[in-house]
């Protein structure tokens, strides 16, 4: 395979919204920037499929203390309050950045346009409850929002390399000095030398069913781990609603937004098992219902102005979201009149965990920065803080990582790679193309999914079952990954993705075994309660002597909330009658 060398100040790996922000910011600080993407910048990342952007602004009536309290409670007292404050304070300036890039948003009157600086855009308001006040989510007005971001990246003078699968970080003298990979169409070997590197390639999603996450295979998180970076909160994960018989995600969100009342969600006995739950993140209650043998779970239309609802959904079809109405119609599902089976699918580790970063998005490895879902900011704890905080978080961490990386690149010394170092990486990258026998990536992917996805493994957890899954993942690591065989450069991408997912799964299962309690969406049947005495802690992992070293550190005292409150008051999300 021919070799291509690229030299730059700042390399950004992954071109979703976090990566675009990192690139634009680094360039603004006069760094040369290369942005790589295994897909195509403008059509990928969770960002392409997201719609909401959280904008907090006190002038519009948002109360800072209330929000910090809400983040703390929903994050079950292990949310990182430094980051919570950053997310709240910097959501508005990043929102304005997006508008200056040419991103339209919904205005208050329902039209799509560019709100003036002091003009409050359309923002959703959830019903106020004791536990959750209002949402402060604005909505992107363009389905092609990421193409607008792409244009901004190019106009700023950054270089984009699409279809470039980065597989490993380049290390020299304890520093990350770029990365290696290959072009997924031409098969060319790429060596990108960079003074600073930002990993913004998304979360660890195992190519799960929920819409828009199937390419998030934890590539950046695991390559950071291999380069010596510390990971945090990898035990957590989330489930997302999907329609069981149709390849789309629906539908609780729009219902809660538009209708005054939540749609009915019932189990096989016709019981509304969510009714008494305050509006805190409740995704874990679905798998708990599965576990009691009370499936199927049905979503039933109820209490919604159907015409208005349909109109709103159509609007999302045309602007920011997927073609739900078309697809549901095509599948023969009339969601306005018929009940349908709804499923909660495990979708991996996204917002909260990833590469441990400080508030400059710097990891413990010099020259390595992380942003977006690849970064482990811990800002939401073991749930999801607020709708739209994913996109706000991507923008904010991207901006900060771009800034940190550009400043690092300015002060750091030149380096020179020698041939033998590069040859070692070439072997890692193209190994699966050699030889005629071995295991296909498709086979390994199927086995990973069969091991991780059943609800009783990673959603309703138990030490014994986690251990059983880990035993299988170790076998995949030692037997399948060691003998991966790819048939062409397209297949080679999948080989590296499964290599990453097997490592990610091992990290996830080992850390899940380590946390011997339940918290937020992290539920262990063998430890079914929050353990404030022992587990107001974050879990960290790093590679040490080729082994996984796992440890916990207490969260600062001032993050822990009022520990004298009764359990039920401290934790409004009750798994069952405890």
């Amino acid at each position: 395979m021919s070799e291509r060398r690229v030299k730059t100040d700042v390399l950004v790996i992954g071109g979703g919204l976090a990566g675009c922000f990192a690139a634009v910011k680094a360039k603004e600080l006069n760094a040369d920037v290369v942005l790589t993407e295994k897909n195509y910048v403008g059509k990928t990342g969770c960002s392409h499929y997201a719609r909401d952007f959280m904008v907090f602004k006190e002038e519009w009536g948002d109360k800072f203390d209330e929000w910090m309290q809400q983040f703390s409670q929903i994050g079950e007292y292990i949310a990182d309050r430094r980051w919570d404050e950053i997310i709240l304070r910097e959501s508005y300036p990043r929102f304005r950045d997006l508008i200056s890039w040419g991103e339209p948003f919904y205005k208050k009157d329902g039209t799509v346009g560019f709100p003036e600086p002091e003009e409050e855009p359309f923002r959703l308001a959830f019903r106020k409850t004791k536990y959750r006040r209002t949402a402060v989510i604005s909505k992107f007005g363009a389905r092609h929002k990421m193409l607008i971001a792409r244009k901004k990246v190019i106009d700023s003078g950054c270089k984009i390399l699409d279809r470039l699968m980065i597989t490993d970080l380049l290390e020299k003298d304890g520093r990350v000095v770029g990365a290696v990979g290959f072009h997924t169409r031409t098969g060319e070997f790429y060596v990108v030398e960079a003074k600073a590197t930002v990993v913004s390639s998304g979360g660890l999603g195992f190519r799960a069913a929920p819409y828009g996450r199937q390419f998030n295979t934890g590539d950046g998180v695991t390559m950071g781990y291999r380069a010596g970076a510390v990971l945090t909160s990898m035990e957590f994960g989330q489930g997302m609603y999907v329609v069981k018989d149709c390849d789309t995600v629906v539908i609780d969100g729009p219902v809660a937004e538009i209708g005054k009342k939540r749609d009915r969600v019932t189990n096989a006995n016709g019981e509304e098992f969510l009714n008494e739950i305050p509006h805190v993140p409740i995704n874990i209650l679905w798998p708990l219902e599965f576990h009691k043998g009370r499936g199927p779970i049905y979503h039933e239309p109820y209490g919604v102005d159907r015409e208005k609802y349909k109109e709103e959904l159509k609007k999302f079809d045309e602007t920011a979201e997927g073609p739900w109405i078309t697809m549901l119609d095509r599948a023969g599902l009339d969601i306005f009149n018929d009940r349908f089976e709804q499923y909660m699918a495990f979708s991996g580790n996204f917002v909260t965990g990833g590469l441990r970063v400080n508030t400059s998005c710097e990891t413990n490895v010099p020259g390595l920065y992380a942003a977006g879902d690849a970064s482990g900011t811990n800002y939401t704890g073991p749930t999801y803080a607020a709708l739209g905080s994913g996109m706000a978080g991507a923008s904010i961490t991207g901006y900060r990582a771009g800034q940190g990386a550009a400043q690092f690149a300015q002060k750091v010394k030149e380096f020179k790679l020698d041939g033998s170092e590069v040859a070692k990486y070439r072997q890692i990258v193209f190994g699966p193309l050699e030889g005629k026998s071995g295991f296909s990536p498709d086979h390994v992917l199927m086995r990973i999914q069969q091991t991780i996805f059943p609800y009783e493994i990673r959603m309703v957890m138990h030490g014994k079952r986690l251990q059983a899954a880990l035993t299988m993942i170790e076998f995949f690591r030692d037997h399948f990954v060691a003998k991966l065989r790819a048939s062409d450069s397209h297949d080679l991408r999948k080989a590296h993705e499964v290599r990453s997912m097997v490592l990610g799964a091992e990290v996830m299962l080992r850390t899940a075994l380590f946390r011997t309690e339940s918290r937020g969406w992290f539920y262990r049947e063998d430890y079914p309660r929050r353990d404030d005495k022992n587990w107001l802690k974050w879990i960290f992992v790093r590679k040490e002597d080729e082994k996984m070293k796992i440890w916990a550190e207490p969260v600062p005292k001032e993050y822990q909330g009022d520990t004298s409150l009764p359990y039920e008051e401290r934790y409004p999300l009750q798994y069952q009658k405890e």
Binding site: K43, R163, R207, Q214, F215, D247, G295, M327
Partner: protein, 72 residues
């Protein structure tokens, strides 16, 4: 598997779907100047291709292609 076909009669060779596919499922035939489904099994049903096609040449099936284990 979700992507069912790209209608070669309709396809105008603009390559929007080729660029827009996150899984690189769609190839481009340099001779006929038409897009074609190259790696069907990797389709994730994101509907980018169908939504973006200016001449309505792409059809994506809504049938679930991604794995969800039954829980009941």
């Amino acid at each position: 598997m979700p992507i069912e076909k790209i209608d070669t009669e309709r396809c105008n060779g603009c390559e929007i779907c080729v660029d827009g596919c996150p899984m690189d499922v769609i190839g481009f035939d340099g001779e006929s100047k038409k897009a074609f489904v190259k790696y069907k099994k990797d389709c994730i049903a994101c509907y980018n291709c169908e939504q973006d096609c200016p001449v309505e040449a792409v059809y994506v099936s809504p049938q679930r292609g991604t794995m969800i284990p039954p829980a009941w």
